[in-house]
Symmetry: C2
């Protein structure tokens, strides 16, 4: 599976991470070759998570004549990582998951009040939504990311063929290199999105593809591809058309801890990636600026 | 105050509205000259509110090289139309307003869980937010507006000088005509935004400018200007840098009922309008697509 060139790159990254670990304990857990590492959260958190990544760099001249909706409609039955109505245990603490991923409860209604207004309640990471650095680190919250960093060149990498055969397919470093062979280096300040074809399954059991143990399965990013995008390219954001950057190949949420812990952000549950070109579109993430938010539902679009 | 040309236009609109009223009772209440009318909701609701306004027209070729954040950060003390923690009565029904306009309640916290995730709760019309047609009609909800109609040419009309002297200043038809005299007709499918200078007051009592009776005062749109934009121009959206399109000059919420009742939408609490040109920018409204939403917080930007 691993070409000599890839093995060489992985060795290079291992040596970088070991150097980092010596400096402050970050990145000490090392992935070995093409298999994902099981990285413990503590070790992958960088020593200074609030470093100033946000550049507010001017956007390069962009032109467009078409807008594509990259968001799903959010409704109470939208599939989420956490099972609605169940309990979740974190380090011995039990937490009750709400009965619906979003509750839209009428406060004023047309028939009586001649006005409609709802009270909306959700756990932040539902629907098409951002993962801010703060989701898996002590880093920036959604309101701390400037708009210049929410409008980025969009790169779409297609792994649909492999994902159709394997619900745990990974977008790996070979997919990135193969994309670059055809289209040139990933542009600076890009958002790199995985198109696994999963968006069309959103209203069916296939979206969660539960295994015999009841664990969900969906395509995700390989930690090595992610580290390449961090270390060899200046990528700002990751995107997936599934509900997580990680799957069962990275049970320690390696991708989340590495990427968000490095003051980068991501977006999950993207839609309609088939309707945008693999290169040349601009992603616009309309992320409500809720003070202290670790992420949350938004309207993401592509300008083509 | 009224020029003969304006009086002529108003007469024309009155005659149109009378014709409409004869057809189905809509628009029967007539504004007289330059003073706002007190229009009762029932009369201003159009007979067929779910008419197909949304065109999904292709966007005209747009270029930009700068992004401006037109949103405020939303936090629990953000000033809202409804007084947090108070009661509101609508047609005899008493409703308790939550103690904060947005509640961001930690579910998982870094210190214990090595993940941050909040439960977010709000009444929809807080912060920089959309008013969908459904807010004041039986029309479309936020999820029914296609993205093509969320990316529009932005026109900013400045009434700061008048608003500095009068917290109940109105953007009137003369302001629109004066803008057009200088810049040409309002572009098709525009969003027309009022810049009253109010955004800078958002963290001060000036934002609400309470009068002796405790009622808030802020600049708003004159119903005649709004009807001109509806009937003589093909404007899709209104914008204000205050928390309402209406003020004490239109206590029956004329602007809301007329505009939203005609399957158009609006955005309130815009920020940073001084940083965009009066003409030539493009507004992008990142409105989360919550099924059944009558509006709600979003991230609005301008592409310049």
């Amino acid at each position: 599976m691993c070409s000599p060139a890839i093995i060489e790159q992985v060795k290079k990254r291992i040596s970088r991470r070991n150097a980092l670990a010596a400096l402050g304990g970050a990145g000490a857990a090392v992935s070995t070759g093409c298999l994902p590492a099981s990285v413990s959260p503590k070790k992958t958190v960088r020593p200074s998570p609030k470093k100033k990544r946000w550049s507010s760099k001017p956007v390069e001249q962009v032109s467009f004549s078409r807008v594509v909706d990259l968001s799903h409609t959010l409704h109470p039955d939208f599939p989420a990582w956490f099972e609605a109505g169940k309990e979740v245990t974190t380090r011995g603490k039990r937490t009750f998951v709400p009965p619906a991923v979003v509750e839209v409860k009428p406060v004023f209604e047309w028939e009586h009040d001649k006005v409609n207004l709802n009270q909306v309640t959700y756990w932040e990471h539902v629907g098409t939504h951002m993962d801010a650095p703060a989701h898996f680190s002590e880093g920036s919250t959604v309101d701390e990311i400037p708009v210049e960093d929410l409008v980025l060149p969009l790169v779409v990498i297609d792994i649909k063929e492999r994902a159709a055969k394997d619900p745990l397919a990974l977008l790996n470093i070979e997919d990135v290199r193969s994309w670059e062979d055809e289209h040139g280096p990933i542009p600076e300040r890009a958002c790199v999105a995985m198109n696994s074809g999963w968006a069309k399954h959103v209203e069916t059991p296939k979206f969660k593809s539960l295994d015999k143990k009841g664990k969900h399965r969906q395509p995700a990013f390989h930690i090595d591809a992610v580290e390449y995008l961090m270390e060899e390219r200046e990528v700002v954001a990751l995107g997936v058309d599934t509900f997580s950057f990680d799957n069962q190949h990275s049970p320690g949420s390696d991708v989340h801890y590495r990427w968000l812990g490095d003051e980068r952000w991501g977006i999950e549950n993207l839609n309609n990636l088939d309707d945008v070109p693999t290169k040349g579109a601009t992603i616009v993430v309309g992320q409500p600026s809720v003070k202290g938010g670790s992420g949350g539902p938004n309207r993401t679009m592509a300008l083509v």
